[in-house]
C-alpha cells in the first residue's frame, strides 16, 4: 500500500537521505530501525509528506506530493515523536482533534473518543487536563487521537496506514507491549503500520517487515530473521550482538555482547 522510490532529502546543504527505496504492505507491521542520526525520522517525515523530498511516495496508488491534505488524512494517521499543546485542552478534546477531518460521519464522536482512550488504557482520563499528565500518558493520548482519526483499518474498501514515530519511547514495559499489540492488531485487521522503534527485541517479536537504516541509506530490509543478523547489526550499530532463538512461542531475541574487563 505504501511505495517509496528514490527518496532524497536535503536539509540545508546536507543530504540526509541518499535515495531510499522502500515499501510497506497492508496486513503487515513494518518497523524502521537504525542508530541515532541514520535518517529514520527524516524518512518517516518524507513518507508522510511533512518535508520536501525528491523521488516519489505513493499511498494506495496516490502520489502524496499532489494529494489534498483531507484525502491523505482519511487514509493515514501520523503520530509524531513529540507534540506540545499550547492551550489547556482536556484529554477528551485532544482526542477529538483526531476527528477534525470529519471523515467518520454518522458515528457518535464521543463514543469513538471513549473507545480510542480505552484502547490505549486511558479510560477514565477524558476529563483530565492534557498538561497535567505524565509524558507517557500524553504519548498514549496522542496515539488515541491518531487511532480515532483512522479507527477502521480498512475504510471504504481501502486499507489505511498508521505512521508511528517512536510510539513507545516513554512508556513502561506493560504499555510498550500494549501499544505493540494495538499496532499488530491494526495490521492483522487489514491496515498497514509503519513504525520507528529502538527496541530490537520488540521489533524481532512484533514486526513482519524490517527496514534497517544506516547513514541515510537502507542497509537491509525484509523479514526480521533475514535483517536482524549479527553481522548486519554489528555493521550498523557498531557493537557486537548475539541473535538467538528461544523455544516456547517466542521467535528469537537480540542481546548486546557486553564484555567485562576488556574492550567491547
Amino acid at each position: 500500500m505504501l511505495e517509496a522510490r528514490n527518496i532524497q532529502v536535503r536539509l540545508g546543504r546536507t543530504e540526509i537521505l541518499h535515495g531510499i527505496d522502500m515499501w510497506a504492505a497492508k496486513n503487515q507491521f513494518t518497523v524502521i530501525i537504525g542508530p541515532n542520526g541514520s535518517g529514520k525520522t527524516t524518512l518517516l517525515r518524507a513518507l508522510t509528506g511533512e518535508i520536501g523530498f525528491t523521488g516519489e511516495v505513493r499511498l494506495n496508488g496516490i502520489d502524496i506530493a499532489n494529494a489534498r491534505p483531507l484525502d491523505l488524512a482519511s487514509l493515514r494517521g501520523v503520530l509524531p515523536q513529540s507534540a506540545n499543546l499550547s492551550f489547556p485542552f482536556t484529554v477528551h478534546e485532544v482526542v477529538r482533534l483526531g476527528l477534525s477531518a470529519g471523515i467518520q460521519t454518522g458515528i457518535d464522536a464521543g463514543a469513538r473518543i471513549e473507545e480510542a482512550l480505552a484502547a490505549v488504557d486511558m479510560d477514565g482520563f477524558g476529563g483530565r487536563f492534557y498538561q497535567e499528565l505524565s509524558g507517557g500518558e500524553q504519548q498514549r493520548v496522542h496515539l488515541a487521537r491518531v487511532l480515532a482519526q483512522v479507527w477502521e483499518p480498512v475504510f471504504d474498501g481501502k486499507p489505511r496506514c498508521l505512521f508511528l514515530d517512536e510510539p513507545i519511547s516513554s512508556l513502561d514495559i506493560r504499555h510498550q507491549l500494549q501499544i505493540m499489540q494495538i499496532a499488530r492488531r491494526y495490521a492483522e485487521a487489514g491496515g498497514g503500520v509503519v513504525a520507528i522503534l529502538h527496541d530490537l527485541n520488540l521489533t524481532a517479536h512484533f514486526a513482519d517487515h524490517v527496514v534497517l537504516m544506516n547513514w541515510g541509506r537502507v542497509h537491509a530490509s525484509g523479514d526480521p530473521q533475514t535483517v536482524l543478523t549479527p553481522s548486519n547489526l554489528e555493521t550498523v550499530y557498531g557493537c557486537p550482538m548475539a541473535v538467538g532463538a528461544v523455544p516456547e512461542g517466542m521467535d528469537f531475541f537480540v542481546l548486546p555482547l557486553i564484555s567485562y574487563g576488556g574492550s567491547a
Binding site: E93, L97, A101, G127
Partner: protein, 363 residues
C-alpha cells in the same frame, strides 16, 4: 482544585468526561443575553438626560411630538452609532486576538502586543498626514474606506513579516515572535513619529484624538465604513475553528489531520490584519480586549475554537461597551479615552491570569 472543577462544571448528565460542548453552548446563550442587556444599557445611559424608552416609543408609535429634537439626536445620532461601533470593535478585537493566538499557538500573541496594531496605525497615520498631499489620488479613489484600507495594508504587512520571522519549519518560536513584535512595533513607531513630525496643526489634532483610542467620535458613517469588513469576519470566523483547533498541535500535525495549512494560514493572516486594521482605523489603539477576552473564555469554557470564537465576539462586544460606559461616566461630563480604561483594567487582569495559570500554559 479549581481547574478541574471548571472542567467538571461542563458535565451534563450522560455527557462524556472532559466534553465541554454542552457547557460552552450554554455560555454562548448567556453571553448573548448579557450583550443585549449591555447594549440596551449603553444606549439608555449618558451625560444628557435623554430617555431611550421614550425615543423608542415615539419611533414605534410614529408620534414625533413626544420627544424633543435634542433627545432624538442624542439617542439616534450619538448613542446608537456609538454603541454599534463599540460592539463591532469589541467583537473584532477579541476575535482577531483569538485567531492570532490560535495561528501562533500562543496565548500571548495579540495584535496589540506583537506590533500588528502598530503597523495598522502606521498605515492609517500615513493616510491622515499624506492623504491630502502625495497620496491624494489614492485617498480619493478609496473614498471613506481609505483609512481602514491603509490600516489593513499596514496590519497585513506586519502580520506577514511577523509570521515569516518567528516561524521556522512549522514551529513558532515564542521568544522570537515577542521580540520581533517589539522590533516591528518600534519600527512602526519611528515612522509614525516621523509622519507626526511632518503633520500640520489640524492633522496633529486628528492624530492625538485618534491615537489615544476612542469610540467617542462614532458616527453612522464610521459604522458603515467598518461594518462591511467586521461583519463578514465575525460570520466567517466559525469556519476557521476546525483549522485553529488542529493548529494547536503544530503545522505538521494539522496537515496530517486534513487541514490545508498553507491556505488556512493565509486566510487567518488576512482575517487578523483586516480585523485589526478596521478597528485601528476608526478607534485608534484599544488594547487588551484581544488578549483578556479570549484568555478569560479559554479558562471558562476551554480552548475549542468552535465555541471560543463566537463567545469572543459576544464577550468582546460586552467588554468594550462596559469600558466605554466607564470612560463616559468616571469623569462626566468629560470623557476618558477608552484605551486608557481597557489598559488600566486589562493589564493587571492579564497578569493575574498569567500567574495563576503558569503551570498549565506552555509558554
Amino acid at each position: 482544585m479549581s481547574i478541574s472543577l471548571e472542567a467538571g462544571m461542563s458535565q451534563a448528565p450522560g455527557a462524556y468526561a472532559g466534553d465541554r460542548t454542552v457547557f460552552a453552548r450554554r455560555m454562548l446563550l448567556v453571553l448573548t443575553v448579557v450583550l443585549i442587556l449591555t447594549a440596551m444599557f449603553s444606549i439608555a445611559s449618558g451625560a444628557t438626560n435623554a430617555s431611550a424608552v421614550s425615543v423608542a416609543w415615539a419611533l414605534i408609535s410614529g408620534r414625533d411630538d413626544l420627544i424633543s429634537a435634542v433627545e432624538r439626536v442624542v439617542i439616534l445620532d450619538i448613542r446608537m452609532p456609538r454603541t454599534l461601533l463599540g460592539m463591532l470593535i469589541g467583537a473584532a478585537l477579541a476575535v482577531s486576538g483569538a485567531t492570532m493566538q490560535g495561528l501562533f499557538r500562543n496565548p500571548l500573541a495579540d495584535p496589540g502586543i506583537v506590533g500588528v496594531s502598530a503597523g495598522a496605525s502606521l498605515g492609517a497615520v500615513t493616510f491622515i498626514v499624506l492623504g491630502a498631499g502625495a497620496l491624494a489620488p489614492v485617498a480619493a479613489f478609496l473614498g471613506m474606506y481609505h483609512i481602514p484600507f491603509a490600516a489593513f495594508v499596514g496590519g497585513l504587512l506586519f502580520t506577514m513579516a511577523l509570521y515569516r520571522i518567528s516561524t521556522r519549519n512549522g514551529r513558532t518560536s515564542v521568544a522570537t515572535m515577542l521580540l520581533a513584535g517589539i522590533a516591528l512595533g518600534a519600527m512602526a513607531g519611528a515612522f509614525t513619529g516621523l509622519l507626526v513630525f511632518w503633520a500640520d496643526d489640524e492633522q496633529l489634532r486628528d492624530l492625538t484624538f485618534w491615537g489615544l483610542g476612542s469610540v467617542a467620535g462614532a458616527t453612522w458613517l464610521k459604522v458603515l465604513a467598518v461594518a462591511p469588513v467586521i461583519i463578514p469576519i465575525l460570520v466567517f470566523s466559525p469556519f476557521m475553528a476546525r483549522g485553529l483547533n488542529a493548529m494547536t498541535l503544530g503545522e505538521a500535525t494539522a496537515r496530517h489531520l486534513g487541514i490545508n495549512v498553507q491556505l488556512f494560514k493565509r486566510v487567518a493572516i488576512v482575517m487578523v490584519a483586516s480585523g485589526t486594521g478596521a478597528c485601528v482605523a476608526v478607534s485608534g489603539g484599544i488594547g487588551f480586549i484581544g488578549i483578556v477576552v479570549p484568555h478569560l473564555l479559554r479558562l471558562l469554557m476551554g480552548p475549542d475554537h468552535r465555541f471560543l470564537l463566537p463567545a469572543c465576539a459576544l464577550l468582546g462586544a460586552v467588554m468594550l461597551l462596559f469600558a466605554d460606559a466607564i470612560a463616559r461616566q468616571i469623569v462626566a461630563p468629560a470623557e476618558l479615552p477608552i484605551g486608557i480604561v481597557t489598559a488600566a483594567i486589562g493589564a493587571p487582569f492579564f497578569l493575574w491570569i498569567l500567574l495563576r495559570r503558569r503551570g498549565l500554559m506552555d509558554i
